[in-house]
Amino acid sequence: MENEIIVKLENLVKRFPVGKSHFTALRNISLEFKKGEFAGLVGPSGSGKTTLLNIIGSLDTPSEGIATVIGKRINDLSHKAAAHLRNYNIGFIFQTYNLLPVYNVFDNVEFALLLQKMTATERKKAVMEALEWVGLTDKAKSKPALLSGGECQRVAIARAMVKRPALVLADEPSANLDSVNSNHIVQTMKQLNRELNTTFIFSTHDEKVMRYLDRVIQLVDGEVASDELIKHED
């Protein structure tokens, strides 16, 4: 099962219309991600990292090529099927946390489970476990406005992980954080990756995050410039 491929991208092309012409954001991307990988898409702004994450996350579709995520062809998914895939199999972590401001920490984390028809008791257990992973059980009743940036991102990690997804997509998760918090949240994600065997795919150009990655895929102008596995000494 370790070698199970959960994301397979074949000759992926993504174009965006710009006036009467179009802009090509991704060119012939062919990649595979295995279960349990801790991989990162790195590159400068405009290199296509977020676009690629959006396609993997079924929030967008490729213009050409085939994207298969957890056995589903993204190209052919209906809105409903894509929503189902995201709800059960994919967790998202955003640069700006995207927490729902009127909900408290518990409600924010619980939100992902509300769509899964779990009982209240099951949800409470899962939420408290997820908050324990990120060390925020004491902040369960706090509103996001009262949390620091690092705490908000930890809530976002708990929200992404609470449903035990096969895949977590993190778009520049440390961009709004200081170095201490950046290290903390990446360490948290690394630990979850090891303990739960969840696949993490990052988009980042943060050196602090890159240090933890097992695989670094360099994107330049929408193309894969390099794809290397990193051997960590520990």
């Binding site: 409903k80 929503a83 059960y88 995207n98 401001p101 509300l114």
Partner: protein
Amino acid sequence: MLEIKLAFKNLLGAGLRTWLNVIVLSIAFVIILFYNGMLDGWNEQARRDTCEWEIGSGEIRHPLFDPYDPYCYQDAHKAIDADLQKLINAGEITPILVTQASIYPQGRMQNIVLKGISPDQKLLKLPSDKLNGGDGDIKAIIGHRMANASNLKIGDRLMVRWRDVQGAFDAKEIVIADIFRSNVPAIDAAQIWVSIDVLQEICVMPNEATYFVVNDEYLKTHREALAPNGWKFASKELLLKDLNDVIKSKKASSGIMYGLLLAIALLAIFDTQVLSIFRRQKEIGTYIALGMTRFKVVRIFTFEGTAHSILAILLGSIYGTPVLSYFVRAGIPMPSSVDQTGLAISASIYPVFSLGLIVSSILLVVISAMIVSYIPTRKITKLNPTDAIKGKIL
């Protein structure tokens, strides 16, 4: 269920903006109830008074009789046959004879309608028993409007001139035996009631009537043939048609007033919805990323807008119940000038808030709020989630 729960949570989380919308909408809701309750109360009172004082459960009329055409009175009368007499004796109908006449209060001539009614009748609320006796005087009863207009009081004597069946003028003094108060101007303004026996005698119309007022018993026993031979039947609904039309037109005109108020409240909700969708794109994108379909998000926002109306109804019930209950008990005083309108209006109208009125008002507010909430949310279906997550403007 999830959408409703989320909608209420979001709505209450929005704070002051929500409550401003809710307050305006609740005022519109209470005013809709107040106006409709007042009109329903008036309708109920006017129908009841008109039946009790004027029309009973319907009228059997001479075919030529038209109450709005005084020229027809001369010919619109005929003899009461044996069958009708039986019904009179049984108390199922009461005869009324109508003729034109003139009076001369303070030396000025005033045209009136002279009506004859049995002093013993129990079918109408008119105090006709006051017409009994008289020691040779013709006793008459009039309504307070007639008394005010002609400056008459109990015990006053006045000259009445009429034409008999041959068209010959005759005149005699009558004495005012009673002045009654009724909310029904149709039996009061410019009318003098005397005993039907007296009127038949002075007009030389022995045992004749212009029309009969019938009771419910008559309707039950004559369901198959309501109009006796040579007479026509006017149903209660037909006789109340004018009143119904007036109430309908009043409802329409008051509808414009509360419609405007409702429109202002709905506009505020619409505006809030547009602003919400504009400001909360990141949230919409997050909902989609977390696994909601666009239609589910549309439902959340639509429920959110609609929830304004639920909160407005709850709030309106809190302050509206004591206020409207007070009016139900104390009534809504009408200005004295309404007496001159010719409509059956009492000094105070007691509003009636039926279950149907409350349910229809709730539905009106909820459905209209739902429609104005849904319209702006359709934009969400065209939203690109990747742009929404970043909070890019639609």
